[in-house]
Symmetry: C2
Amino acid sequence: MARTAEEVAAELRGRIQRAELRAGDRLPTMTGLVEEHGVSRQTVREALNLLKREGLVEYRGGRSGTTVRERPVTRLVRSRGMERDHLGYYSGANVQHWRLVPGTRTTVTTEPVPGDIADLLGIEAGTPVIARKRLNGDPENELHRQLTDSWLHPAAVEALPVLAGDSGLGGIYDRIEEWAEQPIVWEEGVTAVTPSPAEAGALLLPSGVPLLRVIRTSTVKIDGRPLVVEANDIRMSAELFSVRYPITRRGAARWPVQPASADFYTN
Amino acid sequence: MARTAEEVAAELRGRIQRAELRAGDRLPTMTGLVEEHGVSRQTVREALNLLKREGLVEYRGGRSGTTVRERPVTRLVRSRGMERDHLGYYSGANVQHWRLVPGTRTTVTTEPVPGDIADLLGIEAGTPVIARKRLNGDPENELHRQLTDSWLHPAAVEALPVLAGDSGLGGIYDRIEEWAEQPIVWEEGVTAVTPSPAEAGALLLPSGVPLLRVIRTSTVKIDGRPLVVEANDIRMSAELFSVRYPITRRGAARWPVQPASADFYTN
DNA sequence: CAGTGGTCTAGACCACAAC
DNA sequence: TTGTGGTCTAGACCACTGA
């Protein structure tokens, strides 16, 4: 006989993990659980809350009760690399050109730059900066659910006014390389955060699922000094996605070095 | 006058964000909040719960009440790359040889391999596999707080029995390269999960902070086929860490390609 | 419109750290 | 010893959905 919310949750978690309850199945009703475990309604509610935060169950309202949530079996692996897509634009490997993806909304604004992005750009936090924000919450295709904020360095926009326009994202890297007369050096930093309510809503995340945050910087040398031209802040469900990178090796190898696995750009 | 738990939480969140309450400061007591907002104790408790899950406040028990939590201002950036450390072993760039880090506990066991690791190794889930698990929860140094599980492919252990021993992790990559007569190809996949209670305890994580999960595979070609010799599952606080990678470029560049930024291995 | 879960109130007992 | 938050009970009202 379970007495605490955690015990009730553990019991239900077990039933789900042992597949006695499968995706889409209804859980016992709250009143049922109250009688079954001899605890109060609040306690049962707390237990269900834990499971909801873990993304194990969901409640869509109304009479159909709480059901076991459909969970992705494996994560979609995104291999991170840059190449030209089929339209000739630079883009992340294996990502379609976003302008063609249904449900994409892009807004271009000028707003104070948040602290972490400011650090990357090497400017002061709060400086007004051009931001190109893209939301993709396409309910039909979870591959397309991501948020992307692109922050441009003011010096780059000054030198290259075309960046300020909504000229399509793909082209900006070519414009930058032409301007700098050198290839861009890209780097990505990956971390995770708990989503804000707005992010959770836009990406259709259940509460409790962390948000994977990938920040890509594009750097060129101007007058001999590195300039971070753009910081690109990408957020996606950590439950849905994993991002993949080849590891670089420093120092001489004793054997001839092979390229990264052949399928790196193809899945 | 706030009426719901979310509203009470939002009001307190605001005070913290506006720095009216700073790290270490005591929040009003629950009874104080009950009177201040005209809500019940349960509602206040729910509000404090939200803030705790966000990692904004903490309660250490006893009479000192709920306090504003000290939050890391910026994340520690870990540049991911492989090099030989000062002892001559392969290791992640800028990571000391772990055997020298105080508080490290390593256990070597044989146990059923979990599904996601099995997929990477290309073997069946549940197969008994040698696992080398390292826990580092050093309370003194947050740089050292991480969990590492190393799973070895059975075929590799069979061909190279030395891998089964507790021979120190650093050396295994050299042994593998000598065996395969080729350099290892490393790749890392990054995602995030909500920590299990055990992980949260070991890493001193407050509830609600996601766990960054980095899985590195070491691959060599044996008889012309790629073999994933080891899968290395590293977990660390997403609030404390960010991992950094250079981005590879596919296709011809119009300008001479520079190496990744100079400090890539040095911070 | 019946039954679901969501949320709040009110009151009680407990463990714990600091005084 | 005292005051803190942690947790449970019991009862009430609400919004929503699907039969």
